[in-house]
């Protein structure tokens, strides 16, 4: 039976974009059982015309209600360099402190994990920057999310 794709227009109008550039949110360990739930991400820093990348900066915010002993952390590494950060207060309006890893252009690894079983709803921000703190090319790939 012949049909056309005119239904596309109506349906697409309600399609929402869930992510914004260089920030994203999800729930780690959504089933509430897996204390070892881990996210694994690659971020590529490249020169998009704004300048050669010198570093990757990152911060994280935990939106879930506070649970004693349950915190979310992020580890960042590239080559032989690494750093990490934890949002020490869940559910407040503040991000963790920002951290940066000055490892130049190329592919960085970001690991997200938490200290105990239980879901953690979070947002993370990541930005590749030049030595003068100018935002430059930033692309992300998610390899694992549990």
């Amino acid at each position: 039976m012949k049909k056309t794709l005119t239904t596309f227009a109506l349906l697409a109008a309600s399609h929402l974009q869930p992510l914004y550039a260089h920030s994203g949110g999800a729930t780690l360990g959504e089933d509430g059982l897996n204390a070892s739930a881990t996210g694994l991400v690659r971020i590529t820093c490249f020169d998009d015309g704004n300048g050669e990348p010198a570093k990757l900066t990152m911060r994280i915010i935990d939106h879930s209600e506070p649970v004693e002993g349950l915190l979310i952390s992020a580890q960042l590494y590239k080559g032989l360099m690494a750093t990490n950060v934890t949002d020490q207060i869940s559910g407040d309006a503040d991000y963790s402190e920002g951290v940066e890893l000055s490892a130049g252009p190329g592919v960085y690894r970001l690991i997200l994990n938490k200290t105990a079983a239980g879901p953690r709803r979070f947002d993370v921000e990541w930005h590749c920057k030049t030595a003068d703190d100018i935002h430059t090319g930033t692309e992300i790939i998610v390899d694992q999310f549990q």
Partner: protein, 255 residues
């Protein structure tokens, strides 16, 4: 309309008809720029176009407009590889550092009213679709703009090039996958046993390709001349990512 302009129009129509006849046997849907250099800190993304060279022609000879298109890159997760033409069990990450979310769609409604990116369950963008509206007129060529992420070839690998096979569907009539035929669509896909292939069609096992040449780090000395790697999407990935799904409703293929 005066006589002269009518003649011009008639000549144009004839020229167009000849062009269509030529295109229908030669113009597979491909990328405008099928070969690019590796890049990371030097250039950034590569801007490109899907080029739809011709629409569909039914067995009865009727030319149909293209009403939708789908483009899917290999996800690099369960993709298969060949190295110098031989099947390889090595994972893609042995050859490319940052493959996983390779494409971004550029908004453009010149041909189709609606468009969006195709995401894997992890949220990586591996392709896009466009459809609806008046579509691509059967005697014209269509360009769908997009850009690809800068590809970083693993510097310790022996890859001198990495070629990604890209599955494309040009849809002229919406049917179920069981009713796929060149009367309804053209499929330019690798023959990996997915639902999205039409045996004996010109697009059978004839995917578009994007070849990335190694241009940043020299090959390790032990590699000699280096190797050419080809990345092929799996049947499972094509069955998952080729359908057009909007807000949980599959629009194509019809169900």
């Amino acid at each position: 309309m005066n006589c002269l302009s009518f003649k011009k129009l008639a000549l144009l129509s004839i020229s167009s008809a000849v062009l269509i006849a030529t295109q229908s046997v030669t113009a597979h849907t491909r990328l405008q720029t099928p070969t690019i250099d590796e890049n990371n800190a030097r250039h950034g993304s590569n801007y490109n176009n899907e080029v739809i060279g011709h629409t569909c022609k039914t067995a009865a000879g009727e030319a149909l407009n293209t009403i939708g298109t789908v483009v899917v890159f290999p996800d690099g997760v369960d993709s298969t590889l060949t190295v110098n033409g031989e099947a390889s069990s090595q994972p893609l990450i042995d050859f490319v550092q940052n493959w996983g979310s390779p494409v971004q769609l550029i908004q453009n409604n010149d041909i189709f009213e609606s468009q969006d990116e195709i995401q894997t369950p992890l949220g990586n963008v591996v392709g896009f679709w466009a459809g609806g509206g008046k579509g691509l007129q059967h005697n014209l060529t269509g360009l769908i703009p997009f850009r690809t992420s800068g590809v970083v070839i693993e510097p310790t690998s022996c890859a001198r090039s990495v070629t990604f096979q890209i599955a494309i569907a040009d849809i002229c009539q919406v049917t179920t996958d069981a009713d796929f035929s060149t009367d309804a669509l053209n499929l330019w896909t690798p023959a990996v046993g997915s639902k999205f292939q039409i045996e004996d069609s010109s697009g059978y096992n004839s995917p578009a390709t994007l070849k990335v040449n190694r241009t940043i780090e020299a090959l390790p000395e032990s590699c000699g001349e280096g190797v050419d790697v080809v990345v092929i999407p799996s049947a499972a990935q094509l069955n998952r990512d080729m359908p057009i799904v909007i807000d949980g409703t599959q629009i194509w293929p019809a169900q």
